[in-house]
């Protein structure tokens, strides 16, 4: 995948400013940067949820930004997306939510009547099983905890049989324990399925722990793009701005640290388990 001079303007504001990078072999890319740096917008442009203003994204030689209609939707299926707020259908049961990952390619009429074949259901159950939540298959999605819902979302992404996975702040709303499970699952997609995973993260240590490569963004531009080992305090200052407190613990979510305390529910869960 070759991203070239990708930009997005909202009115006079430039959210993403001529971003270029390329991903050759499957790898896990962590995108870090302060909020408002354009990380989400970039991922959303790759998935075509947001239209790009300029630039191109070439995958196997064709510019996916110019795809329309059916081909665009096919591309969206190929690059599965995971959201901070899970974006599941809360009133539907888990297995149906996972099945919805395959709506593309399913006939519209069949999907209107909720007709899914046995093999599809088995595939969905396998995906759920892989994430350890096959037992909740018939529960309504809204009754699950945040971490479980995010794993349902990952199962849905797997159901898409994607060629790459985009994750937009997948653990920002989760307690540390769930966050770890979710990140491990994403890492597994990279190692086991040999897929590229691009993951927006707001914590440096998570990015360091799980990613092969880190892209740092600041005000819509890429200011860093290298292996995690090269992420020196100077670079971090460039990414997060000079006046930003550079104590890494501020941006950390390792278990037992401050962000756990910030979420009372999360700490409750931890104590109970």
């Amino acid at each position: 995948m070759i991203v070239n001079e990708l930009s997005k303007h909202f009115g006079t504001v430039t959210a993403v400013d001529a971003v270029s990078f390329r991903i050759e072999a499957p790898q896990m890319v962590g995108v870090i940067g302060p909020s408002g740096a354009g990380k989400s917008t970039m991922l959303r442009m790759i998935n075509r949820l947001t239209e790009a203003s300029q630039g191109s994204i070439r995958v196997n030689g064709r510019d996916i930004l110019h795809l329309k209609g059916k081909e665009k939707r096919r591309w969206q299926r190929d690059c599965a997306m995971i959201f901070q707020q899970f974006n599941l259908v809360p009133r539907l049961d888990v297995v149906t939510n996972v099945l919805l990952g395959r709506l593309n390619g399913h006939s519209t009429l069949k999907s209107l009547f909720s007709i899914f074949g046995k093999s599809l259901v088995e595939e969905a159950l396998a995906a759920l099983d892989r994430l350890g939540i096959a037992d909740q298959a018939l529960q309504r999605a809204e009754t699950l905890s945040g971490g479980q819902q995010q794993r349902v979302a990952i199962a849905r992404a797997l159901m898409q049989k994607p060629k790459m996975v985009l994750a937009d702040e997948p653990i920002a709303s989760l307690d540390p324990l769930s966050a770890e499970k979710v990140m491990t699952s994403l890492r597994e997609i990279r190692t086991r399925d040999k897929l590229t995973v691009i993951c927006n993260l707001h914590t440096l240590d998570t990015a360091r722990t799980y990613c092969d490569r880190i892209i740092g963004m600041h005000k819509g531009r890429i200011v860093f793009d290298a292996a995690p080992a090269k992420l020196t305090p100077d670079v971090v200052r460039d990414i997060y701005g000079a006046d930003h407190a550079l104590d890494e613990s501020v941006t950390s979510t390792s278990i037992g640290e401050r962000s756990a305390g910030a979420d009372p529910v999360a700490s409750d869960v931890k104590m109970a388990s």
């Binding site: 998935n47 949820l49 665009k72 939707r73 096919r74 591309w75 969206q76 299926r77 190929d78 599965a80 997306m81 959201f83 707020q85 899970f86 974006n87 599941l88 259908v89 809360p90 009133r91 539907l92 919805l100 990952g101 395959r102 709506l103 593309n104 399913h106 519209t108 999907s111 209107l112 979302a153 849905r156 898409q160």
Partner: protein, 283 residues
């Protein structure tokens, strides 16, 4: 200085408000009194005369029904098909109109990614004008073209229902959470699939609740439209009432059927709506 003026201002404002509300109430009473005066003078029968006669007619009907004895229930049974026809007019009209309303509502909601956006405002205008057309006018017009039959009433009621429910449905749609829709879009689901799974499960309980309420309203409307020639219980009523004296027992039987069914539907619909709103419905 400022505190004093503020206090004075507040007192003045209080006084003004009191004055306004007194004027408002007096105005309302005046309007009502003069309105009734005007209405009474326009009426062919006078108010006081009418009051005296108010119980005559119901009394007469009840007496005749009483005299009919067990024959009354035979009459009730005899009119059952007419009631069913009225219920069918309402039922079919609510279903057809409701289905049209769902389509209109999805096309007329601003948050569902309908393209091009012109469709949204056009569909909204369509819904507004469908709502504005009184059922009576459509029914009369269609009776003229199609002849006396339940179908004109059904079309008329369905037409109005599509507009009225469409507006309510689109308001529900516009309050729907965007996250599930976005989630499905990111999977490559097409527009219909996004509506079916991203929106419908969220809005269905509210849709059903409005649907029930509308069915109740439509039963009443169908009965009334029967009176202008659209069939069902209304047509029977016009016949028995048109006969003047002598058909009081039949009229009573019809009233009895109508009141009973409206009462039953009213209770059923409020029971079901309560259940739906309290969130027990699946999808």
């Amino acid at each position: 200085m400022t505190a004093d003026t503020i206090q004075l201002e507040i007192i003045a404002m209080e006084k003004r408000r009191k004055l306004y509300s007194t004027i408002g109430i007096l105005l309302m009473i005046a309007v009502l009194a003069s309105g009734y005066g005007l209405a009474s003078s326009m009426n062919s029968g006078s108010f006081l005369n009418g009051l005296e006669k108010f119980f005559d007619y119901p009394g007469e009907i009840v007496r005749e029904a009483w005299e009919a004895g067990s024959g009354f229930f035979a009459l009730v049974l005899q009119f059952l098909p007419a009631l069913i026809e009225t219920l069918n007019i309402a039922g079919a009209a609510t279903l057809v109109g409701g289905a049209a309303a769902v389509v209109l509502a999805f096309l007329g909601s601003s948050n569902l990614g309908v393209k091009p956006p012109v469709i949204i405002s056009v569909v909204r205008r369509i819904m507004d004008s469908m709502r504005a057309f009184p059922e009576l006018i459509i029914a009369l017009f269609l009776i003229f073209i199609l002849g006396s039959s339940p179908v004109p009433a059904m079309i008329a009621v369905a037409f109005h229902t599509a507009g009225a429910l469409g507006k309510l449905f689109s308001e529900v749609n516009e309050n729907a959470d965007a996250a599930p829709i976005e989630g499905l879009e990111s999977c490559g689901a097409n527009w219909l699939q996004r509506m079916r799974y991203g929106v419908l499960p969220q809005v269905l309980p509210n849709f059903l609740s409005y649907f029930m309420l509308r069915f109740e309203i439509n039963v009443r409307a169908s009965a009334i439209l029967g009176f202008v020639g659209a069939g069902g219980i209304g047509t029977e009523l016009r016949r028995t009432i048109g006969w003047g004296r002598g058909a009081g027992d039949e009229t009573a039987a019809l009233f009895f059927l109508l009141i009973l069914s409206i009462f039953a539907i009213d209770q059923l619909s409020s029971f079901m709506r309560q259940r739906l709103v309290s969130g027990k419905a699946g999808s």
